[in-house]
């Protein structure tokens, strides 16, 4: 008969939250923000009439979306120091650190997904809105920043947040470069105390609750932020 000890969760909770969850949430928030900014730029590049820009953005997005995230995390972890060395012309590979490496990876990876969302969002803004902006004397850049992108963001907010929830779950993959995120922290305790079932069960419950509650919130937000047309 298996003996369960759920006290272990209570005892290690401060560690799980402070070490693990803080990291998970920080990485999620920063990568989502960075990914959205970069993704929007990529979307604009992809929709641009300058062929070189469009080609680059399309290539980038397709490449990122065709690679497994774990592989990208690995590659960046090992490559970024050398890329830094090449750019900065230092003698040794630049020390980037696991957190920075993970942040760069997730930002670049998520940007590909966010760019597809933003592309759809930008295309969802009626052409007449652009005409109205131009007719008022706004430049391309101004039309994009004040008229199109704000509407695209609002139209796509539910999808953006849903993608962020996926990102929140995906951050657990940082275990491959030995970073202690929430799952990593739970895993450490599990291994140390031989409480695999309790800890993984608890971790699953936490991920489920956060993701589920967040998606409920997204649904409610969706009703509130919809642009009145």
């Amino acid at each position: 008969m298996l003996q369960f000890d759920f006290d272990i969760i209570l005892k290690t909770l401060p560690y799980l939250l402070r070490e693990g969850m803080v990291f998970t949430l920080t990485l999620t928030a920063l990568a989502a923000f960075g990914g959205l900014v970069l993704g929007t730029l990529l979307a604009l590049m992809r929709l641009s009439t300058i062929p070189g820009l469009a080609l680059f953005a399309t290539g980038y997005v397709n490449l990122m979306r065709s690679l497994p995230l774990v592989l990208v995390i690995f590659w960046f972890y090992f490559l970024v120091p050398y890329i830094g060395q090449a750019i900065l012309r230092t003698e040794r590979p630049v020390e980037v650190g696991a957190f920075a490496s993970a942040l760069i990876t997730f930002t670049l990876f998520e940007a590909a997904y966010f760019s597809e969302i933003m592309r759809a969002g930008i295309q969802s803004v009626p052409k007449g809105q652009l005409s109205a902006g131009y007719a008022l004397g706004l430049t391309y850049r101004q039309v994009m920043s004040y008229v199109v992108v704000p509407q695209a963001l609002r139209n796509m907010l539910p999808v953006i947040l849903t993608q962020t929830i996926v990102l929140f779950q995906d951050t657990s993959l940082v275990y491959v470069i030995s970073i202690t995120d929430f799952l990593g922290a739970a895993s450490k305790v599990a291994q140390r105390d031989g409480r695999l079932i309790e800890m993984y069960l608890f971790a699953a419950l936490v991920y489920f609750l956060i993701s589920f509650l967040a998606s409920l919130l997204v649904k409610r937000l969706q009703a509130r932020t919809a642009i009145i047309r």
């Binding site: 109205a132 007719a135 008022l136 004397g137 004040y146 509407q151």
Partner: protein, 250 residues
Amino acid sequence: MSNAAGPMIEMAAVSKWYSPQFQVLKDCTTSVAKGEVVVVCGPSGSGKSTLIKCVNALEPFQAGTIRVDGINLSDPGTDLPKLRARIGMVFQHFELFPHLRITENLCLAQEKVLGRSRDEAMAKGKALLDRVGLSEHAGKFPGQLSGGQQQRVAIARALAMDPIAMLFDEPTSALDPEMITEVLDVMVELAREGMTMMVVTHEMGFARKVAHRVIFMDRGEIIEDRNKEEFFGSPRSDRAQLFLSKILAH
């Protein structure tokens, strides 16, 4: 260069093709003098909306020249955003920015394009909103207004830029019948104040009341370009006659 004496809008042999087989505008030549109100009418698909959109270069054209206040649109040195800022445009579907409040709709281009301060832009916007009779709606979003109200805001938004001319692209076509008058009233007032206007519309009542000239288009060509009295009076082309008999039948 600005020329006070010449026409405000001058089109010479403007042609536009969507594809080599499909020509939307054929050698369109006309002009609009300062203070003149010109109504452009014709059956749907005749190119009248396309023509008016060429005036502020929202639609590119392949041949001919258009000058606005003496400035050639096709000249590579022409700063199009700057020129467009001086020409007001009102669209069939209003095209207010739905994510911005009415006041923001009125202020955005004033601040970003003309560099006016917030207070200045706000004062101007509020005054114009008052003029079109919508002061109490300043804090609302466009979607909370009726079509007629939105179109009046759109006119105010264009006027806020102190335009030298106004272009109207079927401003009442998307409106419910009971809202057409409130928009036309604003336009009539504007015409009487001496605003240079080019108006694509089927509202012949408006044309009769304030237009100086009427342009009739069909299949991308300007068929008639005459004084109002002549146009509504006796001799005219068969096509224009047929068109008028259709829209004036009821």
